[in-house]
């Protein structure tokens, strides 16, 4: 490899000296005699040439790229869901084309069987009547959704997406250990893994002749398009996500972006006139096809789970009306049934008149008396699972149970045998991962992906390899903290380059750049703008107060400090019930608390978390850099925080917020989304300024404290400008002019109002002659400011000046607050949440 460091035999030895595959399982890289399998040789040599140090660097590089690209997997722990960085091991799993071809054939056959089975279960149910599949196995499965019986069975392609989890047995056979049919996840992660590895090992990747993934996504896109109702030549396709709290939200946003679809949540859609519409800002936009990543039972609260807030009421009715295509169809989770594996060979013979090519892991359904007797007798060798692989239902290893627990389990099975299956314990094959500069053998599973095409299924020539978190871990799951890998299927000859961006054989028409911004997204962007601005004001003020408390800046008289602290208390909503702010002698601790206490409404940390939540909800609309900046802000202000670092932390926060603002400004197209972000920002900035100016300036007159103005100037970022203009003098009239009226100062109140007025006009499409409620309010605020008598600034010590100034600032604050309400009423009213009718008996 041209980019490899010099290697020596000792490097190779060091790299491999910890690699100890377990003799009882199959190792993907080494044969049982320890010799590297031929198709791994090239990779092994290349790694050895790289040397351990370089390999470590590449590992770090994969992490860095994954982090930069914002690849995360949400891990649910108790009530909070934390985005966890995606962990990718740089060594791919390698399979030869020959072996892959056999696997591929088996997968296609299995998908075909499952598709026919699905149509039968929601249609004639011949297999149940004929006893080929025991009725109890299906009829007791929570995924068998009776309202879907007439929805699936008359569809042209009942199954569009299918994923199978494969594991290799010690004798080298690939077995299917799980079928995923309702909303298979992971194909986006597989794609991202591929993109990262091709960057980490450019020449190795190129020279290995790896099958490309793009063909799969192309097939998927064509199939989704074909699901549109007849006559739709350029259908509007949307990815239906369960939202940022979903484990795989990153992937939903990523796939939507890659495939060029709108990302929507159930609440963004509404069913009217028997069809599905997107609640866009400018009204309802028809949606023709949904790529669904919401579980079956949550899709429609009218006909399925009534308490679901993730779905769209009436969706099943729209599907039944034939006005929308959906992949996968609602109801497909009936196939995610562990017990089906025991009957698939018979089903395959009944439906295709063929033998099942790709075996499943050996499975006993306890609803069958003979199988149950076997299970009870061999309990310790088996794994017990419910037929319904629900995340909350546990997989039980009888071998690790006490005898009392085993008895209890046997009793539970005896009470409802049809709900349980037993499977042989898997002895997974192992694969090398880089661990502390060396290779370590870890158990792995492979998830493969299929998409329906016009006459069958296209298999993704790759997949998502998941590796156990430790060499002896029994389970492989992303939720439990595993590592992922790419799968390289090595072509026998070089592949032609295909990407989604290349011209397609069938013209798909121009993909519309904006298929409508969902009203919810606009709402979140508006609040993202508001919180970004609020956080910045908060950080700036806290910084100025802290600098003065710590003596780095001129110390104002105690009166002044009291006023500053009062401003902080007002801004952070921490005024005590009596309206008093913290005493000066306790101020430091109080400021520290206002930095980090997330339970305190209005604290910096609180605002940052609100900012991150709003940002997370519209992540797909932000550039990767902008989103990353939000995440770093979150990390910057994480407790514990010592006073000695507080100023530096605030400094960094202000900088990062500026970076975020800049990134949004540079990285977002000037569509409606950007307008809402910007309006939110200007509106909040205006409101914050109005409050601060009133508290510090107006009250400052009363206290005759000019040093306050300096703090105010610094907090408002205009100190430099001011000093440049006025040197060390601080004429109050000039200070006011700069902060209040100077439209050339981008931090003045007037500047916010000018911007706001023009933004609101552009968004609503109003003209001077015809103004709606929002642009009237924006104009009123601006005019109120413009009509302020500037002569008064020359007589700042006149009490009447303070009075009229206070009145002005209160008025503007009130107008801005009304403007915010008006925008909410006008644009976001579509974001109502649905309710269930009270039922009676």
């Amino acid at each position: 490899m041209p980019d490899a460091a010099d290697s020596s035999p000792s490097d190779v030895a060091r790299l491999f000296d910890a690699y100890r595959p377990v003799a009882s399982s199959y190792d993907e890289m080494c044969a049982s005699d320890g010799v590297v399998r031929p198709h791994w040789e090239y990779l092994v040599c290349s790694l050895a040439e790289l040397g351990t140090e370089e390999l470590d660097r590449r590992v770090a590089e994969t992490r860095r790229i994954a982090f930069e690209n914002g690849v995360t997997y949400n891990v649910h722990s108790q009530s909070v869901s934390l985005p966890r960085p995606w962990l990718l091991d740089p060594i791919p799993l390698l399979l030869t084309s020959d072996e892959w071809h056999r696997i591929e054939q088996g997968l296609v056959q299995r998908a075909e069987v499952l598709e026919l089975l699905l149509a039968d279960l929601y249609g004639p149910r011949r297999l149940l009547r004929d006893g080929i599949v025991p009725p109890a196995l299906i009829l007791s499965h929570p995924g068998f959704l009776r309202p879907c019986h007439d929805v699936i069975n008359d569809r042209r392609r009942p199954l569009v997406l299918y994923a199978a989890d494969l594991a290799r047995t010690p004798d080298g056979e690939m077995h299917v250990v799980g079928d995923r049919t309702q909303a298979p996840s992971g194909s986006g992660y597989a794609l991202e893994n591929r993109l990262i590895l091709s960057r980490i090992f450019p020449s190795l990747y190129r020279d290995s002749h790896v099958h490309r993934l793009a063909l799969y996504f192309r097939a998927l896109r064509l199939t989704l398009q074909s699901l549109a109702p007849p006559g739709q030549t350029n259908p509007h396709v949307a990815v239906l996500t369960s939202g940022p709290a979903s484990e795989t939200y990153f992937e939903h946003a990523y796939l939507a972006d890659y495939l060029g679809y709108t990302l929507v949540e159930g609440g963004d859609l509404v069913v009217r006139d028997d069809r599905v519409w997107l609640k866009a800002l400018d009204g309802l936009k028809p949606v023709d096809v949904l790529l669904r990543r919401v579980d079956d039972v949550f899709c429609d609260p009218l006909e399925l789970r009534g308490d679901s807030l993730l779905g769209t009421p009436g969706l099943l009715h729209a599907i039944r009306s034939g006005t929308i295509g959906i992949a996968n169809p609602v109801g497909a989770s009936v196939l995610e049934n562990n017990g089906l594996m025991a009957f698939l060979p018979q089903v395959c013979r009944a439906l295709l008149e063929e033998d099942l090519e790709l075996p499943s892991t050996q499975t006993w359904w306890c609803g069958d008396d003979a199988s149950r007797a076997y299970v009870v007798e061999h309990l310790e060798e088996l794994v017990i699972k419910p037929i319904h692989p629900h995340p909350s239902s546990s997989i039980l290893f009888a071998a690790r149970m006490t005898s009392a627990q085993r008895e209890e389990l046997v009793a539970r099975i005896a009470a409802q045998p049809h709900l349980y299956v037993a499977q042989q314990q898997l002895s997974l094959s192992t694969v090398p991962v880089v661990h502390q500069g060396r290779l370590e053998a870890r158990p792995m599973m492979l998830r493969t992906y299929l998409a329906a095409n016009t006459d069958g299924f296209t298999v993704m020539p790759g997949g998502l390899v998941r590796v156990a978190p430790a060499p002896d871990a029994p389970l492989v799951s992303n939720q439990l903290g595993g590592l992922s890998k790419d799968l390289w299927v090595l072509a026998s000859e070089p592949e032609r380059q295909v990407t989604l961006l290349a011209t397609e054989s069938q013209p798909v028409g121009v993909i519309r750049a904006e298929d409508g911004v969902p009203a919810r997204v606009a709402d979140d962007l508006f609040w993202l703008g508001r919180y970004a601005s609020r956080t910045e004001s908060c950080a700036r003020l806290l910084r100025e107060v802290l600098l003065r408390l710590l003596g780095n800046e001129r110390i104002p008289s105690d009166d002044g400090l009291v006023l500053l602290l009062h401003a902080v208390a007002v801004q952070t909503h921490t005024l005590s019930a009596e309206g008093t702010s913290p005493a000066v002698d306790r101020a430091e601790n109080e400021i520290l608390r206002l930095l980090t206490d997330e339970t305190q409404i209005g604290s910096l940390r609180f605002n940052i978390q609100a900012l991150a939540r709003a940002g997370g909800a519209v992540r797909d609309r932000l550039s990767a850099d902008a989103w990353r900046t939000i995440q770093s802000i979150e990390r910057t202000v994480a407790p514990p925080l010592h006073l000695s670092r507080a100023v530096e932390v605030l400094q960094r926060t202000v900088l990062q917020l500026s970076a975020f603002t800049g990134l949004c400004h540079e990285g977002m197209s000037r569509g409606p989304g950007w307008y809402f972000l910007e309006i939110g920002r200007r509106l909040e900035h205006g409101m914050q300024s109005a409050v601060l100016l009133r508290l510090l300036f107006v009250d400052g007159f009363a206290h005759g404290n000019r040093q306050l103005w300096e703090a105010l100037l610094a907090a408002a970022l205009s100190l430099k400008t001011f000093r440049r203009r006025y040197r060390s003098r601080l004429p109050p009239g000039a200070v006011l002019d700069l902060l209040l009226l100077d439209t050339s100062n981008p931090r003045s109140l007037a500047f916010q109002l000018v911007q706001l007025e023009s933004l609101v006009m552009s968004l609503s499409g109003d003209s001077e002659a015809h103004r709606g409620a929002e642009s009237r309010l924006a104009l009123e605020a601006l005019t109120r400011m413009r009509l302020f008598d500037t002569d008064k600034l020359d007589a700042v010590y006149d009490p009447s000046t303070a009075e009229s100034l206070e009145e002005l600032l209160l008025d503007i604050h009130r107008l801005l607050s009304r403007l915010s309400d008006e925008i909410t009423r006008h644009y976001f009213h579509l974001t109502d949440t649905p309710q269930q009718l009270v039922r009676y008996q």
């Binding site: 004929d130 019986h149 008996q841």
Partner: protein, 296 residues
């Protein structure tokens, strides 16, 4: 006998509802024992969308949506149903209950019966159900005799207490407190039967509101009613009304059946806006002129 059913449901909202989607199991199905001569659902305001279809269990199901803002939703279901009198079955002639419990699973033709022996969303297997039912099921007792006894015991041991429960009250609470409404009694009986491996289904319907001369008024007549049906391989499905301790007669109109209440909810809906809301229900079941006294 010919019965006319008028079932009115009225929702009054605190704020306007901008959009609602609803499903109604309010049109009676035709069965071997009854013919639905007329059945319709009308709403106020007039629905923007209205469609009738047949659900998984063969019941008529109405979907309607209202797109115009409204403060009140009034749903009126009207039906005329002709119900045949029942033959007073000789319960002693039915097969022993154990034979039914094991027998029907052998043949796979009766998919429906197989389905109705399994747990359903509102009726899950529970040890308390078995112990409650046990006294009615001594070994070898003819099925219908056993069920009839269970029906009587539910009527005697539990008190009919309107508004004491709601649809989310679990069966264990109903059993513990020994009271409930017709839905609870039907669920209880179904749970008992299924825990012995006997297929049982939930039937939703109405009973005649005004009693014929000389007979007492029936509980559950002022709202939609519910009872259960047990599968006897010889006699087919036999209906029992535990609320009134009787076999279902020609005074009962069947609307729909399913595994439990959740499959045949008379009216459900999802709406946008609306704030809080209140509900009024009235049901009137009367004999159609000229048919009076046929069974009196």
């Amino acid at each position: 006998m010919k019965l006319r059913v008028v079932h009115t449901t009225q929702y009054r909202y605190g704020a306007p509802v901008t959009l609602c989607h609803n499903e109604a199991h309010l049109i009676p199905r035709s069965t071997p024992r009854q013919r639905c001569l007329e059945g319709r659902v009308e709403t106020e305001p007039i629905p923007s969308r209205y469609r009738e279809r047949t659900d998984y269990f063969g019941n008529p199901l109405v979907y309607f949506a209202i797109h115009d803002p409204h403060d009140v939703l009034r749903v009126t279901a009207t039906a005329v149903v002709e119900v045949d009198p029942i033959d007073s079955a000789d319960h002693g002639k039915s097969p022993p209950w154990e034979q039914v419990a094991t027998g029907f699973t052998k043949g796979t033709t009766l998919l429906e019966a197989q389905e109705l022996v399994l747990d359903s969303p509102l009726v899950a297997l529970h040890a308390e159900l078995v112990s409650f039912a046990k006294p009615s099921f001594p070994p070898g007792r003819p099925l219908l005799e056993a069920v009839s006894d269970l029906n009587r015991r539910i009527h005697e041991e539990l008190s009919y207490a309107p508004r004491s429960t709601n649809i989310s009250t679990p069966l264990s609470v109903v059993l513990r407190e020994r009271r409930g409404v017709c839905q609870d009694f039907a669920h209880l009986a179904i749970g008992c039967l299924r825990s012995f491996g006997l297929p049982a289904r939930y039937v939703s319907g109405y009973v005649e509101s005004e009693p014929p001369p000389g007979r007492s008024r029936i509980d559950g007549a002022d709202a939609s009613h519910a009872w259960f049906s047990v599968f006897d391989p010889a006699a087919g499905w036999v209906d029992f009304d535990p609320t009134n301790d009787q076999l279902v007669s020609d005074r009962h109109v069947t609307t729909a059946w399913g595994r439990d209440y959740s499959d045949v909810t008379p009216l459900k809906g999802i709406f946008f806006g609306g704030g809080s809301h209140t509900l009024d229900v009235s049901v009137d079941v009367s004999r159609v002129e000229g048919q009076c006294g046929v069974n009196g």
